[in-house]
């Protein structure tokens, strides 16, 4: 595939401010509750039936929920596991879990917490759930750098081995959380929600609520 070949955002979701959006529609909302309770509410709304979810750290829980919205719910990606890539980024790395682990150091810290003290574990959890065995990358940057993510995703498609890529932002620290994920492929899939894969659309969806991009 050449660098100039058209790519599309086939689906997108945004989770934050106790709301979950699927493409342009508000999918779930639970105002006035702690983030953990909101995530359990969203898990139930998605009817996930995935007990392992309860054992994950909060970043992985958030990422798996967001991934479920753009990859689950009856979506057929129609490609091999090795053709499915994940490119994620955030600004707080695994700090939310790191802090929890450090707080346990006075006694015996939990091995189950320790295994989540890396940010890219969320990519692994999504991969296990959705059978992704292609390219993987996780970046930490102070702000969402969609230009960089766009270029990176373009590059892995150009390599010719990737047919679908889950990409975006998954960040959590305390009560502040935001997951904005996009499903990208070369297939326009005739969906009304399908849009051209470019930095403007990435930013526009990311900052939609704030109205920062017209």
């Amino acid at each position: 595939m050449s660098h100039t070949q058209q790519l599309y955002i086939n689906a997108a979701c945004r989770i934050g401010n106790n709301q979950a959006w699927k493409d342009g529609q508000l999918f779930f909302e639970q105002a006035g509750v702690p983030g953990d309770e909101f995530m359990v509410g969203l898990y139930r709304k998605l009817n996930l039936q995935y007990p392992k979810w309860y054992k994950m750290d909060r970043l992985s829980k958030l990422g798996v929920l967001a991934a479920e919205i753009v990859l689950g719910m009856g979506v057929n990606l129609n490609c091999q596991p090795g053709e499915k890539a994940i490119v994620l980024a955030n600004s707080h790395s695994s700090l939310d879990t790191d802090a929890r682990f450090v707080s346990q150091m006075e006694e015996i810290p939990s091995p189950a917490v320790f295994v989540y003290t890396l940010p890219n574990i969320v990519s692994g959890e999504i991969s296990i759930r959705h059978c992704f065995k292609g390219e993987q990358a996780f970046f930490v940057s102070s702000r969402p750098d969609m230009e960089f993510l766009y270029s990176y995703v373009r590059a892995i498609f150009a390599d010719g081995r990737t047919r679908v890529c889950l990409m975006g932002w998954a960040d959590i620290l305390g009560e502040q959380f935001n997951a904005t994920l996009y499903r990208v492929s070369a297939d326009s899939d005739d969906s009304v929600h399908s849009m051209e894969f470019n930095t403007q659309n990435l930013y526009q969806y990311f900052y939609h609520e704030q109205g920062a991009v017209s």
């Binding site: 309860y54 054992k55 091995p111 189950a112 295994v115």
Partner: protein
């Protein structure tokens, strides 16, 4: 704490420590904890070791005993009773 109470306590502790989505009454004390039973994994096994140490003050003397001790709630209870500090007996 008698053996029956210990078994119930272990069920509750394991559910809390491992974030299991089951109720204590759904766990059969003699059922396997790993694979076909509760479906625990290797990280859960480490959590069980920590649980034994933190809650019951019992350290596994020999790591090779692990598979036998953590076979079921029943075997865990037996091990705790056999090895608990004298003051707790």
């Amino acid at each position: 704490m008698n053996r029956e109470q210990l078994v119930e306590d272990l069920k509750q502790q394991i559910i809390e420590q491992l974030n299991l989505q089951v109720k204590p009454e759904e766990i059969v004390a003699g059922d396997p904890l790993f694979n076909e039973g509760l479906g625990l994994d290797s990280i859960d096994a480490l959590e069980l070791i920590v649980l034994m140490q933190q809650k019951y003050r019992i350290k596994l003397a020999n790591a090779e005993e692990g598979p036998k001790v953590f076979q079921s709630i029943d075997t865990m209870a037996d091990y705790i009773i056999a090895h608990q500090p004298a003051a707790n007996k």
